[in-house]
């Protein structure tokens, strides 16, 4: 396969970036998107030019490191997958592919396609935990959990924190990420004692970094784990209740 890549290059956070066009020969359709960038980087290294900085870790869709804006969509055109699960068979020979970093005030560009997504950690630090004595694992089924709640909590816990929801949102809003992180604790018995406190803290931290939701729905469409917009309704519900109880 022969592909033309239009890649955002930016040497440092302050530098002015721009697109650079590369032609990649010898790609094959079994390659994942990061492998395509590897192929290009090997050539750039051999030519003694600066390779393209991009993030990737597990390369199996569970770590959330590899998010890129590909042809104007977070994680590319394929639904429910991360950038590393996007294979070149999705494209045609001779295509031009535009690659940009995720853009948000909360995600400053470090270099080229690498952004600093640590505000997501700040949101988790502010309330994404339960305060419980730890120690040996408790007996299974010691605390009964309705099957429905367990399933919904698990759906929310599928969030890998890649930031695609924020990157895809026309408002740069952090609601879907925060909603998922809240829901997987707020739905379970263990999360109840700190539910109002957690909700207030995480929503307030979110608002310090990101925009606000107007229900466009782009976040769910971009989410590699297809986390439902329903969790945003739950966030708003919990936030309203927590505000009242304060």
């Amino acid at each position: 396969m022969k592909l033309t890549l239009k890649v955002w290059r930016q040497t440092s956070p302050e530098a002015r970036g721009d697109f650079v066009i590369y032609t990649v020969d010898g790609a094959n359709e079994e390659m994942s998107f990061p492998e395509l960038l590897d192929l290009l980087n090997e050539r750039l290294t051999a030519e003694s030019s600066d390779p393209i900085a991009f993030e990737s870790d597990c390369r199996e869709g569970i770590c959330g490191a590899c998010g890129l804006m590909i042809n104007g969509q977070a994680h590319g055109p394929q639904r429910g997958t991360t950038t590393c699960q996007l294979h070149l068979r999705t494209f045609n020979d001779g295509d031009e592919i535009v690659v940009e970093p995720f853009r948000s005030a909360g995600f400053p560009i470090v270099k080229d396609l690498v952004v600093d997504r640590s505000p997501l950690d700040r949101i988790i630090q502010s309330g994404g935990y339960i305060t419980a004595p730890t120690g040996s694992a408790p007996d299974a089924n010691l605390i009964p959990v309705p099957k429905d709640d367990a399933d919904r909590a698990m759906d929310a816990a599928a969030c890998i924190g890649c930031g695609a929801c924020i990157a895809a949102c026309p408002n740069g809003a952090g609601q879907l990420f925060t909603a998922a992180k809240l829901a997987h604790l707020n739905l379970l018995p263990q999360g109840q004692p700190e539910r109002p406190k957690r909700t207030l803290a995480m929503v307030e931290t979110m608002e310090a970094y990101f925009g606000s939701c107007t229900n466009h729905g782009e976040c769910t469409a971009a989410c590699p784990k297809e986390i439902s917009l329903d969790f945003i309704a739950m966030l708003n519900h919990d936030y309203r209740r927590a505000r009242r109880s304060r």
Binding site: M69, G72, E100, A105, G211, T214, N215, I232, M234, D238
Partner: protein
């Protein structure tokens, strides 16, 4: 945004329903208009209901505009550097991305609408207390009829997003919100747009 939106949504619906009396003729429409002014009399002073509704609506509009303004500012700050490549939206609808503009069109139209049919300064032959006559006089001018239709299409577009979005914002899980919003917008548009068409085609004269 959502709470003030619900107030405005209810008004838009009741306003459209009330105006359907246009099809019953001048008598019922004018009687309805009189009732809006005299409801509650003699226990309550004249126009109590009318002014209560006006105050609530004005407050809702102020809150709605203020919420839209602060939301826009927050969201502009959240992405100071726009994407350089064209975005490919998959879920955001035309309606959701143009709320600001459809909102401004509706707001400007409401000002004209009040000048035309409440204060009468923009009406060629305004008679206080005779809404049937005023409506017919107004819509016989085809530019006004067209402006009215365009504004109501903008309103329907605004409602198509807003009437569904509000459930999410108030934290109420309602799975058929899209269907509800589509039906609501369609009913409002059909009712409101039928009035100028009825006058232009001579069904109402």
């Amino acid at each position: 945004m959502a709470v003030s939106g619900i107030v405005l949504l209810l008004f838009v619906f009741v306003h459209m329903l009330g105006n359907l009396k246009l099809y019953l003729g001048a008598g019922p429409l004018d009687a309805y208009s009189r009732w809006l002014r005299t409801a509650g009399e003699p226990a309550l002073p004249r126009e109590t209901l009318l002014w209560a509704v006006r105050i609530v609506l004005l407050a809702a509009v102020v809150v709605h505009v203020q919420a839209a303004y602060s939301l826009t500012r927050v969201n502009r700050r959240a992405r100071p550097e726009a994407y350089r490549s064209p975005r490919d939206y998959v879920a955001a609808s035309f309606a959701s991305r143009t709320m600001r503009w459809t909102g401004i069109i509706v707001a400007l139209f409401v000002v004209f609408h009040l000048l035309d049919l409440t204060w009468g300064t923009a009406n060629p032959d305004f008679r206080a207390g005779d809404p049937y006559h005023n409506v017919v006089e107004s819509f016989q001018r085809w530019p006004v009829a067209i402006a009215y239709i365009v504004a109501n299409l903008a309103l329907a577009t605004h409602l198509y997003h807003g009437a569904g979005s509000l459930f999410q914002s108030i934290g109420l899980l309602f799975r058929r919100r899209r269907a509800f919003a589509t039906a609501f917008a369609a009913v409002i548009a059909a009712g409101n747009i039928s009035f100028p068409l009825a006058v232009l085609t001579g069904v109402v004269s």
